[in-house]
């Protein structure tokens, strides 16, 4: 966990740090909006709201904890929720499954010797040092200040070099016209590369959670926990301090935004 240190330091040094009161106020407002819909749901954690005129801040680093010991084999709730939230066609419904984008997928692992089986979701790991950003010729692949790795579709030329570079096979090319089936909040289109955005539209709205994590909680598994890894008081930071976690392909030392327990 030594690589987390500099981030925490830079956070306390950052002059742009939002005042905690303000954040809490906006968060409470977002939570209050949530109460009417689902009592008790959003009261557990205070969402990170950000005023809409403020850019994403490097004081925050969004991250996810995946507890694969709680992730159920055969359960696909997170994948379905992602596809609904972000408007991509589930692979089962696609006419061209090999070419269909998959922002998140369930991965089943088995140790051939011990027969130990593990189930976990795999998606963009939101690296602090993303290889996709390194190789992108136009800078369309970029990391937002709050650690979310995104594709700027206005400058993506569809060269797929990022797909060659990603060690997690997290990215997909949109192979066919989408014919205005996109969600207003989630622009995506033919010829451009895309991947998990940590539900950036929800994050910016102040939901403080992703569709997959919400679905996992709703299904009662609680295997996914989303939050600010830079905030020592956040639920995810507390859990990460206690629970032994690993990064996938830690040998590459990419400092991932997604940490796995039980692999």
């Amino acid at each position: 966990m030594s690589e987390l240190k500099p981030m925490i330091e830079s956070r306390s040094a950052s002059p742009q740090l939002e005042s905690p009161q303000r954040r809490r106020f906006v968060g409470a407002a977002a939570a209050a909006a949530g109460i009417a819909i689902a009592p008790g749901m959003l009261l557990i954690e205070v969402a990170h709201g950000r005023p809409e005129d403020q850019p994403a801040s490097s004081a925050v680093r969004w991250g996810m904890l995946v507890d694969s010991t709680k992730c159920a084999t055969g359960c696909n709730e997170c994948v379905t929720a992602c596809s609904t939230e972000n408007g991509w066609t589930p692979v089962a419904e696609s006419k061209h499954p090999r070419q269909a984008p998959q922002w998140i997928r369930k991965l089943e692992l088995q140790d051939p010797l011990t027969q130990m089986e593990t189930s976990l979701p795999m998606m963009c790991q939101h690296c602090a040092e993303p290889p996709c950003v390194d190789v992108c010729p136009t800078g369309a692949s970029f990391k937002r200040a709050d650690g979310i790795v995104l594709v700027n579709r206005h400058t993506c030329i569809g060269c797929r070099y990022c797909m060659m570079a990603c060690p997690y096979k997290a990215r997909s090319l949109v192979h066919e016209p989408l014919n205005d089936t996109q969600k207003p909040d989630v622009p995506r289109g033919i010829g451009c590369v895309e991947s998990c955005t940590f539900c950036v539209q929800k994050v910016d709205r102040g939901d403080g959670n992703t569709a997959c994590a919400e679905a996992c909680t709703a299904a009662g598994h609680n295997a996914l926990l989303f939050g600010d890894m830079n905030d020592p008081e956040s639920e995810i930071s507390k859990r990460l301090r206690e629970l032994p976690t690993k990064q996938v392909r830690a040998d590459l030392n990419l400092n991932l935004g997604v940490r796995y327990h039980g692999i």
Partner: protein, 163 residues
């Protein structure tokens, strides 16, 4: 060498001349159908004066999109989503589905290709959000379903979307 240059020049000139002739033979501007500019469904006044918007909307949109995509600023003024919210046609519910729709109508008249709607939805968020099966509220429905002891009816789902 000179001869060859001359020949090359002749080819270039002929091409240009042909292109010119081709352009001339097109119907005059008066002959082309004038754009249908529908009044925005919502609101009285655009975010800037109409004249200014006609000439500069793309500049504003481009600046705003970079701030939104790269920095995460989500202000509504100059956001494409807000343009669509007001200007979507009542008939098609879209700014670019039919020939008379707001964006397409002018752009086809000016013969400027719009690249926006390969990726962006041409429809406002609201009309879809009201739909009970809308994805927008799916995660709330998830919660509702998960917390409920009995099966959740379609009406209840719809209510979630509306609230």
């Amino acid at each position: 060498m000179t001869k060859r240059l001359l020949a090359l020049g002749a080819v270039v000139l002929t091409t240009v001349a042909l292109a010119w002739a081709g352009a001339e033979s097109q119907p005059k501007a008066g002959g082309a159908p004038k754009p249908v500019i529908q009044k925005a469904v919502k609101g009285e006044q655009c975010v800037e004066p109409t004249d200014y918007m006609r000439r500069n909307h793309m500049v504003l949109l481009n600046q705003h999109r970079d701030r939104t995509v790269i920095e995460g600023v989500r202000t509504k003024k100059y956001s494409l989503k807000e343009c669509i919210n007001c200007h979507a046609s009542e008939k098609t519910g879209s700014v670019a589905a039919a020939k008379e729709d707001f964006c397409v109508s002018c752009h086809s008249y000016a013969a400027v290709k719009i690249d926006c709607f390969d990726c962006h939805s041409t429809k406002p968020q609201g009309s879809m959000a009201m739909h009970p099966l809308n994805a927008e509220t799916a995660h709330y429905k998830h919660k509702l379903a998960a917390q409920s002891a009995r099966p959740v009816s379609a009406e209840e789902m719809a209510r979630v979307a509306n609230e």
